[in-house]
């Protein structure tokens, strides 16, 4: 594993990606939309379906795109932390109502998102192989599952109720599948951005 120091310009890019992700998340998913979609429309069990299929994938996309666009170590962590802090700040400043079940904006929410970012970062930098498509898929699946498990252990028992054991396999499978999908989407978007802005970075 080779660790390189992240440059100030890369920090700015990662922060911008994280902040944009937070704004899009708060704009696109008003309070109650995720719960209604997951439980009333898709009839998925809970708690955790919204984390596995909506919030986790957004965090993963933001973190992996930041990691792919930067050479230095820490891009995914910076982007995910900015996502969490920016969503907390914007929701507080503009008084955007959020679902108390997800503890959005709290310190534990920031910790959960940071943990997902650290997981993505670790997978993207462990080993000697380049940041490729397979690594993105693995990072996405693992980070999404870690976020979901953290919510089950540390957040949902306080804000709502503990997860039922019989719902764990289905929700874990959904988290893995969504993580894989959004890892792949991050790779595709990175390819598009590389071509468009002619990022000739040989990894």
């Amino acid at each position: 594993m080779k660790l390189t120091v992240i440059r100030p310009k890369e920090v700015a890019i990662c922060s911008a990606i994280g902040a944009a992700g937070a704004l899009i998340f708060l704009f696109a998913f008003p309070k109650g939309a995720i719960s209604t979609l997951m439980h009333a429309v898709l009839h998925l069990p809970g708690p955790g379906a919204g984390i596995a299929l909506i919030i986790g994938p957004i965090v993963i996309f933001v973190a992996l795109l930041a990691s792919l666009l930067t050479r230095g170590t820490g891009g995914a962590l910076i982007a995910s932390l900015t996502f969490a802090v920016a969503s907390a700040l914007v929701a507080a400043i503009f008084a955007i109502p959020t679902n108390p079940k997800g503890a959005f904006g709290s310190a534990i929410f920031i910790a959960a998102v940071a943990l997902a970012g650290i997981t993505a970062e670790a997978v993207m930098h462990l080993g000697k192989s380049a940041k490729g498509r397979r690594r993105c898929l693995l990072a996405g699946a693992l980070a999404n599952t870690v976020l979901l498990v953290f919510y089950w252990i540390a957040i949902f028992p306080r804000t709502y109720k503990p997860v039922a054991w019989h719902d764990v396999p289905l929700l874990t499978a959904l988290a893995l599948a969504a993580g894989l999908l959004f890892g792949y989407i991050a790779w595709v978007v990175y390819g598009f951005l590389s071509r468009t802005f002619a990022l000739k970075e040989k990894r």
Binding site: F27, P30, G32, A33, T36, N99, F192, R195, T196
Partner: protein, 70 residues
């Protein structure tokens, strides 16, 4: 599920996702058009270089068979 289902929120969500998708597609189209224009402009530049007003000098005749005018 915590609380009653909020279908108005879901409707807003769908509308906003559609707006974001449209904005994304628009940006993609603009990027592709710009890339196409850049490619077209660079191709025209290459053609102009080829038909430059200073053509390369004719090769010097070396052997007796190269005197085509005689």
């Amino acid at each position: 599920m915590c609380g009653p289902p909020d279908f108005a929120a879901l409707e807003t969500c769908v509308i906003r996702l559609a707006e974001l998708s449209a904005a994304g597609l628009g940006t993609y189209a603009v990027c592709q058009t710009a890339a196409m224009c850049r490619g077209f402009a660079s191709g025209r530049g290459k053609r102009q270089k080829k038909t430059s007003p200073h053509p390369p000098a004719r090769p010097v005749a070396e052997g007796p068979n190269d005197h085509l005018d005689t």
